[in-house]
Symmetry: C2
Subunit: 376 residues, 2 copies
């Protein structure tokens, strides 16, 4: 079949909206009509050429929602008509990772997904000239129709709006999951969130959900103060106003008469900047503070600190897709949205048709959007 | 009173065994007759001058056992005649850290201990000329008699031999505690221990206690293979024989037909070398591997890695005194020794009188001892 898609023909060039050929689903695969897709920094990371593992030409996009149109041989868990969210972190429930009960990082199709192909080693996409076009993060939601492995779709309730729940396919789940699954923040905790973009704000609403008492937001952009407060931030710190000594400033902010040591129980890096990651670790409380790296760093960048920071009880960890198991946890997060437990609508600052997808990237680069969503 | 002590008069010079003046215990303090003390790398770290916070002249030593001789005003938890192990990590049970239920790093007397004085800001030691001599790590077990805060002694059963249980004052508890308290290793785990000295061997016996299935020991010294096997090591790797690619070698070693990803569930750095700490983290299993830093790094040294290592599920943490609460957990470890649950005797490779304490340092520097113990 033919479908409309925004194709990334090379690094550093705008996406090209065009028709492409799409083969139908093979065994264990499903054909999904994408109804809406968010534009995420990770798409930009690859499109810009900064991702050393980026491959072209490819159809980017990994934060979508849509409807199953057709299923391949042997597919049992979804059927045509089902509403689904594509999963760049699949959940096979059979691999050592899924069976470990310790991680969401299913490894069933990791190798082929990284090469931009389906588990059988081939792509379903071609240009109209027949030249191969690669998949991206196993999703390629910048195509109106796409093919995914059965284990890479989460079935969700049919009354949830596509143009909102697509955000659960990455940003919402990553932010909230980092709090609930990875950090396991408890009631009354003190937390610091570095970077109040599309991930950071979801960390903040995750902290509100978890019952944190103190939620400090850190961002260089003063406009983000109002955004943070909108979702539960209790204190805002602009590093430019902290006198160049951000860590002591933050530690001091978290001090109490009972606890003169200070430091956050939990910190979250949502910037991808390795210097910020270090500040996030070192802002943690001596003895038990946990710092979670969420942001994706530039190629080759390294985090560093004195080991004394760890020996005195700070813990450095990271999260991918918020530690969420896609097929198990994503439907529940959709329920939370529909039940009003979490918010999404105000974060969707821009809605665009596919033809204007490059504008969405521009808005993100300029820091003017929280989330732009493309609707088909 | 006067007491015999090995005094460190300056960095890089041998200890000087001499008589010193010792004031009696003030309020909240106890006078302890030290019967035996281990010699630990941390003493050497300070004596060598490598520790930027090292102060001189001081009486080093922090791994001892002895008998309470006299108690100061208000002391209720111990009495003369009680057998005790001095604690460089005290346990006041009242500070925010002790009450957090999340850390053993009591902060009640941290500031004064770091300055080499008692909580009231003064030292109990003087030379016979009246020149001040500092305490060390709140213990100073290289003195036959020493004064400690009440919260810095663990009362232990009286039938346990001093020349063995002194090792519980640091090395044994640090190694076993890193496994049980910090990593919380579960039955059946696969673990790698870097550095098979006095700490590493105790990590190994901690892993045996925890029921680990695979216990890989890594050391450049081939003589340490037999030592590791003595306490439960199942595999030995000499990095010199791993072709310069230690991490892939170790990951490969931990692969199984069921789990082709490989990597250890838990790794422990017992070297203090920041490059080894990185290898320890990166040898962890994707998705859930936990690496625990135990070793003390040189001043200014930094650990580093790509944040991708954390984002894909590895956790970097550290431990001090094995996460053990001194007054609560140390008596239990003494019981474990007396009950035969853990071994200490074979690790005490050398026993020396105080006059030969510098020989103990030489043996340690040359890697010829596991633990030298000085008996008074």
């Amino acid at each position: 079949m033919q479908t409309r898609a925004a194709v990334a023909f090379g690094a550093g060039t705008p996406l090209e909206v065009t028709k492409v050929e799409l083969d139908g689903p093979r065994a264990g695969e499903v054909l999904v009509e994408i109804r809406a897709t968010g534009i995420c920094h990770t798409d930009e990371f690859t499109l810009s050429g900064a991702d050393p593992e980026g491959l072209f030409p490819a159809i980017l996009g990994h934060e979508g929602a849509g409807v199953v149109v057709e299923v391949g041989e042997g597919v049992r868990s979804v059927a045509p008509g089902d509403h689904v969210i594509p999963l760049y972190t699949p959940e096979c429930r059979e691999c050592p990772s899924c069976l470990s009960r310790k991680t969401n990082l299913c490894t069933a199709i990791r190798a082929t997904q990284g090469r931009g192909v389906m588990p059988d080693g081939t792509s379903r996409f071609r240009t109209l000239d027949g030249a191969p076009v690669l998949h991206y993060m196993g999703c390629s939601t910048f195509s109106n129709f796409t093919v995914l492995p059965e284990i890479a779709v989460a079935r969700v309730r049919p009354d949830a709006p596509f143009d909102k729940i697509c955000y659960i396919g990455c940003g919402v789940t990553t932010g909230i999951g980092a709090v609930l699954n990875t950090a396991r923040v408890e009631e009354g905790a003190r937390a610091i969130v570095f970077g109040l973009g599309g991930i950071g704000l979801n960390v903040i609403q995750g902290l509100r959900l978890a019952g944190a008492d103190m939620v400090v937001g850190v961002d260089l952009n003063p406009a983000r103060r109002a955004w943070g407060e909108r979702f539960g931030m209790t204190h805002f710190v602009n590093p430019a106003e902290a006198g160049g000594e951000l860590v002591p400033w933050l530690v001091n902010l978290t001090r109490t008469p009972f606890d003169p040591i200070g430091g956050a129980d939990y910190t979250f890096d949502c910037t991808g900047n390795v210097e910020v990651m270090r500040a996030a670790l070192e802002s943690c409380h001596r003895g038990w503070g946990v710092s979670v790296v969420i942001g994706v760093a530039p190629a080759g960048a390294e985090i560093r600190t004195r080991p004394f920071q760890l020996v005195t009880g700070r813990v450095w960890k990271g999260t991918a897709f918020g530690g969420a198991r896609g097929r198990t946890d994503v439907p529940r997060i959709v329920d939370w949205y529909m039940d009003g437990k979490i918010e999404i609508d105000p974060m969707i600052t821009h809605v665009l048709p596919l033809e204007r997808i490059n504008e969405g990237f521009d808005l993100m680069r300029r820091g003017e959007s929280i989330r732009s969503v493309v609707v088909y």
